[in-house]
Symmetry: D2
Subunit: 313 residues, 4 copies
């Protein structure tokens, strides 16, 4: 993570400014407000602003005149009830805004979630910094032959060195050519005063997909949880999961009761299909069940057994 001294000063000043408000405040989240939480080699996530806390969910569910909360145990019970029964609208009443720095190929996955507001740093108007993601060696996964998505083993030795060398050299060369075409140095001065520069909106096309971009991203709590449930999942690509994990921490500080319910009813649970449920019922009744009995494919059967903790003997 590269925060320039100038940027750090801006962050420190924003953190130092405290004001009085009548709004609900989430003290644990205030503690880390504006502070970058690192993700990947140069990326970060910063909470910039938020609206509401656990009590605001209760307040909205009750359409209250006052703060809406009663005893913590009652609030907790209501929040768990809402989560369990998928009453999503009260969770939409809280909102959070992040500043995120991330590689472009991660940004392209991220933006597929359309239920957020986004302001991205514009490479039409401005020049991107010379920062690009290079994986740590332990993340250089080998393409699996059975499963097109996952990473199994990891490249090692010479093979790893070669890949890392390519990634660095190509990103660097492309970036240097970007500057050359723009005819601008790091300070925005012409490299060659005799030459014209290509427009920024065109020059950017020479950059590689691991160059970092950044954006402001604002989302309501319900949709944030949906995003996180997909992005902290084992099936998510490591590079986006790194951001999901960093954001889970902010969720926990912001709305601890909701976080707990989210963990129990979304992250930690599992969905059983009609056939999977039928198999479980029969097993609990002491029957021997085969995948054919309930009509599951080999793959689904394997997944079911893994879910319910039964060895496939």
């Amino acid at each position: 993570m590269q925060i320039s001294p100038e940027q750090q000063t801006e962050i420190d000043e924003a953190r130092a400014a405290e004001t009085s408000t009548r709004r609900v405040v989430a003290p644990e989240l205030e503690e880390i407000l504006y502070q970058p939480i690192p993700a990947l080699d140069h990326g970060f996530v910063r909470v910039i602003d938020y609206m509401g806390d656990d009590s605001a969910i209760v307040q909205a569910a009750r359409v209250s005149y006052g703060r809406g909360t009663k005893k913590v145990s009652e609030d907790r019970g209501l929040i768990r009830y809402l989560m369990r029964h998928r009453h999503t609208t009260p969770f939409e009443m809280c909102e959070i805004k992040y500043h995120i720095k991330l590689p472009i190929f991660v940004a392209r996955q991220w933006i597929r979630h359309r239920t957020a507001n986004v302001n991205e740093y514009s490479a039409r108007y401005s020049i991107l910094d010379k920062e690009f993601y290079v994986p740590a060696p332990e993340h250089l996964g080998v393409q699996s032959q059975v499963n097109r998505q996952g990473r199994g083993d990891v490249l090692e030795g010479e093979e790893a060195d070669k890949v890392l060398g390519i990634l660095k050299a190509d990103a660097e060369r492309c970036y240097d050519h970007y500057q050359e075409m723009l005819n601008e140095d790091d300070q925005g001065q012409p490299l060659d005063p005799e030459r014209s520069g290509l427009t920024r909106e065109l020059a950017r096309m020479n950059l590689t997909l691991n160059v970092y971009t950044q954006w402001y991203w604002k989302i309501d709590l319900h949709n944030l949880m949906h995003f996180l449930s997909l992005r902290v999942d084992d099936h998510a690509q490591y590079e986006i999961r790194a951001y999901g994990v960093a954001m889970l921490e902010s969720l926990k500080r912001w709305v601890p009761l909701t976080y707990e319910a989210f963990d129990d009813y979304r992250v930690g649970g599992a969905f059983l299909s009609r056939q999977g449920l039928e198999a479980v019922k029969r097993m609990l009744d002491g029957q021997d069940v085969t995948k054919e009995d309930v009509g599951l494919s080999a793959r689904e059967w394997r997944e079911l057994l893994a879910t319910i903790g039964q060895a496939d003997g």
Copy 2:
């Protein structure tokens, strides 16, 4: 507006609780936070929470590390530029949450705006209060014969009395029957302990459309301005415009620079069609122009002349 003493106490307590925050604060809006602004005979609008202020728009547009604001004049210039060129995403970075009490027929118009989050008081679970909208006599518009939408003249004398009598008597009778079917009095006690009550989810169907409901409604600044531009317009029904006008006041307190730009570039301006623009150009060149010259219908021509302040002679 009927706020019970109990509700007023809740509001007062919420207003009294001040806490320290690192977030940006809109002091003018804090002043009226939680306070009901009256609309129609029993309705209101209350600001419950907000995120951001004018500076947050600038901050998002610049994807800043710090607060993002420079001089007020620069901020003002940027906000006006964004508004003029319809760069909407920075305005989406601010959010506001209202508690609104409104007649059901107004709620039905309102909900057609889908870009907000809503939590409505549930008449499946709870019992609605005995409150219904009856127009003030000066709003009893007569159905126009030329324009199916507007209100021209106003009913008077006996005719007005008759309408008001009907509205009151029918709403009241329907509400009393609602309670009778529920077999519950105002305190939730059985009217007749020997009888069963009809489910709430069914009994509500006997209520009239002027009964008041209430909801929490949360929206970003861009979509709020879109909503207001439609709902404070002359073509909007008076009963929803009353809410729009009340909310304009909160907009002004929240984001004064944005409010000014909104007023100049949305509310106070006008769109000219290709043909309308052509007509204006010719007029400015000193030509005599007829509606046939530019291909406008009689109605569009009339509207154009009204827009550009030319009498239709």
Copy 3:
């Protein structure tokens, strides 16, 4: 259901007009195109148009140049895989449009789903018909004392008669007064040529919530399934479930493979929480488990046992 002879003629003409198209066609759905499927006493659902079929999901998932389908068994496998792993975007590539006639109180529940396009018949511009929903006696549920939402027993005898009498009389009286205030008869002629009429936008407020309205409603397949999974559920109010059930039939005709997967992976399955899953694992390992062991409330424990088919002994 009241379809006037004039409306029936319009429907018949639309059904009779066959044209050639290069688009994919769903023959089973074409069979019922435009035909009203009854729901409640005067309501209906009609499919007006659709885009895509099962093959279009496969085509989008593969970003194909041609039709995209291979063998039916492969298409079925892919659709089930997409449904199981919540890859929702290919299902968004199909779209359907309905014409629906429904009571206003049902419309108010329905509209809470915001991911659809809606054109409602306007009571500002037009006059609503004299049609209102009155439940069949077997649906006159008694308000449950334990569960605020559900219907347990049913009103009978005199109590039922009384409720039905109220509902009919109030809806009728309110409608008649609506016409009187409008000063218009069923043919749009003045009841009294000497009087002015109240504007339609105001007069409508005197109507009861069981009056029928109608709208065109368009939604993509993914969001339709989400809507249906909530609305054919046991927890949904009977009056909206009646529409959900009618629409399931159109889903089956439109995209039979998707319907099957939807039934297996959404409707027929169940979500187990972290604690519920833990309990099942222990049971399968032959342990005695109590709700305290896994930290479930009495209510959640009861729900879990019901889900996995174990009597609560």
Copy 4:
């Protein structure tokens, strides 16, 4: 545009398959269904499916039982009225689906419109083709010094050659390294059977932003027009405008009456601010007006004079 013979066969087969339907059909659009319309050097736009036509807008606005159309002149009048008064919901009742091939940097601009459904070709699962955008020499704009966005002059001679050389060489080298890291040739065979390949989800990060991707993109007519009004505008980057222009053609074939209204009331017209309108009124009244009189900045004044066709003398 590179369509392989295999792809062309698939397209031809899809075009050849004609079926009977009861739905409304847009004959002019059927003519070009599935056919790629070229955009940029290797990109295209193909219409894959559509729902509705001009008559469907009328039908939805009227909530009709039948086709909804009357005389063409009446339909035209209603469509123009709806467009003029921003009644957007009837236009949302038509839907269109495209298959689009476009450079990644264009895709990143495009996706900022969130009101569409998207299925992108997955570079996590699949390997991208070796195709990248290189601008034609006449589009090699020079970065403007006054306006950070636009392109003024064009690079020429050696400078242009140099830029084109860089763009080609870097894209090619990065792509070759992508294949090398994947250890796969164009036929998906290992380049070196002794080596492992890096996962696809990682290797893609070495590609440049001018590499082509493709997606299925589905949108309703209202949102399509909003997209097009922004993207065929002079301020839009040439590379995305090229797609906008190609799509305008499909709009015209699909809904000719709507296209005409769109052209008159969106594309060809102009919005005047409160101050701009004031200036026009005064000019028409024969007054001499300065920008100070109405409170416009120099830039806004210049824009206003250009809009109303008055030389800035």
